[in-house]
Structures are given as C-alpha cells and as structure tokens.
C-alpha cells in the first residue's frame, strides 16, 4: 500500500510536530534559567516590585494633583499644640502631605510604610514619631514614584509637612548614602525634633537589588511642638 503525496506530507508534518513544540520549550527553559540566574538577587523582592507596579488605590486628585484624604491644618503660626488636640493617626492612614518645592515633590504622608502605603504616598515608619513630637520622624518613599526626584535635593532646601494638626517646615541639613542594613544611618532614640527622608539609591550597581539608601536629614524650622 502506497501513501499518496498528500498523506506522506501530512505524516511528515505530524512527525515534526514534537520538534516544533519541544524545541521552543527547551529553549524557553534554558533562557528562563539564565534569566533567573541573572535576576536571582531580586527574585525575593518580586512581590514588592509587583506591588510597586500594580496597586488598586483609587485616585482622587484635587486641583493641585495631590491626593488629599485628610483635613489639613491651617498654618496659624502657633509654636505649640496641646496633645489633646492631636488626632494621632492609625497605621495605614493618610495624615498629611509632604511638599518639596526644589524637587517638585508633592505627595501624601501615611502613618506606616508597608507596600500599600508606599504605593499611595510617602510612609512614616511606625517605629518613629509623628512630626512635632520632639523625636525622629523617619519617612520612606519609592524612587520610582513619589521620591523619584529626591536625589536632586540640596542642603538648605525646605521640606514642608502639612498634617491634620499642624504645618511643619524643615530645612535640609545633610544628605548621605548608606547601605540599607546600616542602622546607624538614623537615630530613633534621638530626643530632638528631626525629619529623615529616604529612598533607594543606585550607586554603581549594574545589576540586582538596590542596596543603598539616600538619606536626607532635616531640622525643624517652624511648626507647633506637641505638648505632652
């Protein structure tokens, strides 16, 4: 029994089907392994990076483009405020906004710095104190969004923090780059009002996770001290 040309061609095509399927799959696995090997150092942070790229925070923008879900205090020029008049924020809530005119930064300030909070604005570490409390306020922001231009900040620049209870102006005293694991980059036990902003900073790293942080140290210029 002879096969027709058509049948022969069909048979040939069918016999090559595994090749056509296997070859790309084999190459796919090989290249994937190469990508994993290259990107190994960032694999562990993928959930955070995905959170940075995708989030479901609904946007409500006022005319200035800043997300405002809180009632900002008016700048009355008061130098102090009784603690009873301060509505302490709960973790994950917006309680202020940060404005740095020299860098074009204007974003919400949240109490808490988890992934969700950092997708919405700048986040204050819950192990630090709120502005005006007389201690260190440590605030983080993504270098791909709200703190993208923080690297352009200079000594002497002004940082304005408007909260639900007072308006604070700080002046940049210094900017330094440290490894993210260097816990001496800031002092959470300091009994003096100060603001520390930080974001990821790429020194000369060409591949992998960014291990450095740019820290911006600010001293208080004006704003009501909370009377405890």
């Amino acid at each position: 029994m002879f096969l027709s040309d058509n049948q022969t061609s069909n048979k040939t095509k069918k016999s090559r089907l595994p090749e056509y399927l296997l070859t790309p799959v084999v190459f796919a696995f090989a290249i994937y392994a190469l990508v994993v090997a290259i990107g190994f150092t960032v694999i562990g942070d993928i959930p955070t990076y995905l959170n940075m790229a995708f989030h479901d925070a609904a946007s409500k923008f006022d005319d200035s483009g800043v997300h405002l879900d809180f009632t900002p205090a008016e700048d009355t020029g008061a130098t102090s405020i009784p603690i009873e008049q301060v509505d302490f924020p709960k973790p994950g809530t917006v309680f202020g906004k940060i404005e740095i005119e020299s860098c074009g930064i204007s974003c919400k300030l949240l109490y808490g710095d988890d992934d969700r909070s950092l997708n919405i604005g700048a986040g204050q570490y819950i192990g630090s104190s709120i502005p005006g409390y007389g201690k260190t306020t440590l605030v983080a922001g993504h270098n791909t969004s709200y703190f993208k231009t923080l690297k352009n900040i200079a000594v002497g620049d002004k940082v304005k923090v408007t909260t639900t209870y007072g308006v604070y102006v700080y002046e940049v005293e210094a900017r330094k780059v440290y490894d993210k694991n260097n816990m001496k980059a800031f002092d959470l036990a300091k009994q003096e009002e100060n603001l520390v902003l930080y974001t990821c900073f790429r020194r000369n790293t060409s591949i992998g996770r960014v291990v450095d942080r740019l820290y911006v140290y600010c001293k208080l210029v004006s704003g009501p001290s909370i009377i405890k």
């Binding site: 090749e19 190459f27 994950g92 630090s128």
Partner: protein, 187 residues
C-alpha cells in the same frame, strides 16, 4: 531574632504595666511610667539589655491612641511576670550573646509568643508570627507593632529591569531561531 526578643519583651511589658482608665490623648502618669521603664537598661548576663528605640516608639504610639483600663492591666501583669520568669532563667547561659533567642528552647520561645498573643488579646491586638514576621494588629487591621525592618524596599535599579527585559527578548529570539533552524534543516 534579637528584634523578636525585644518586640516580645516590649509587647508584654508595655501591655502589662499598671494603667487605669485614661484618655487616649497623650500619656497619663501610668503610661509615662511604662515608657520610662522601657527606656531603662537592665543588666542581663554580662551586658545591659534594653528595648530598642523603635519598639519603644511603637509602644508609645500605641498608647497615644489606646486607653488601657485597670481591669486590663490586672490581666496583663501576670502575663508579664510569666514572660520574665522564662527569660531570666537563661540569664547564666547568655555568655555574652546578644540574642536571647539563640539559646532559648523551642518550647520557651513558643511560650513567650503565646504570652504575647494573650497579652495582645486583652487590648484587642492579634499577635501573629509566621516564623519571620511578628505583628500585633488591631480589629481594623492596623499593625501597631512589627519586627519588619525599619528600612524598606523603596525602588529598583532601572538597569536591572533593562537586563531582565533584554533577557526576555533574547529568549524569544533564540526560541524563534531554534524553530527556524530545525525547520530549515528538515527542508
């Protein structure tokens, strides 16, 4: 691990020390005593051990929002005493180590975490530990205490992403080339 010890210590201690019903606005005298206690260093072995500043601040921030009643205090203090008994038992075994958890038995670690959970329950906080992250969360999901690092991931290197993208493009190109070569060799 050191952070977990400090967090458990601070959580149990903060929640246990005597506070009568107070306004959430500020710290009353009892809460100030708590903060003063948290700020002191206690001799433990050859070194002085104290609560890290970040946990002291977390506890203070929690007390600024929460009102503790006398009844709650009376529930929590015995839990604190139990926690201290567990930790003090290891005093002579520290040998200069900074991390108490390095030498504690698994049962004692679990006992401390259970005490922290029980103390948290008294003030409406759910304490969870997944083997790495310890958190105390209120009924609304607000995390008031956590041992997560103070310094977070706040970005990525643009050229790292570029390399990943280029690798993906290379994968597609090589896959396509592979198919082309096979097809041509058969032709």
């Amino acid at each position: 691990m050191k952070k977990i010890v400090a967090l458990v210590l601070s959580l149990v201690l903060v929640l246990s020390l005597g506070v009568t019903f107070v306004s959430a606005a500020g710290l009353n005298e009892y809460e100030k005593e708590v903060m003063a206690k948290l700020a002191t260093k206690e001799p433990f072995g050859e070194k002085n051990y104290g609560f890290p500043a970040n946990y002291v601040n977390m506890a203070e921030n929690f007390y600024l929002d929460y009102d503790l009643t006398e009844a709650q205090k009376d529930e929590i203090i015995p839990l604190l005493d139990q926690g201290y008994e567990i930790m003090v038992a290891y005093k002579d075994e520290l040998n200069g180590k900074e991390n108490l958890f390095e030498i504690m038995s698994r049962e004692d670690k679990k006992a401390l975490l259970d005490l922290a959970a029980e103390a948290g329950k008294v003030v409406g906080l759910t304490v969870t530990y997944d083997g790495k992250i310890l958190k105390a969360v209120d009924a609304e999901g607000h995390a008031w205490l956590s041992n997560e690092p103070a310094v977070k991931i706040t970005g990525a290197a643009e050229n790292t992403m570029m390399i990943v993208v280029l690798a993906a493009v290379a994968f597609l190109a090589i896959s396509a080339a592979g198919v082309f070569v096979i097809k041509r060799s058969r032709a």
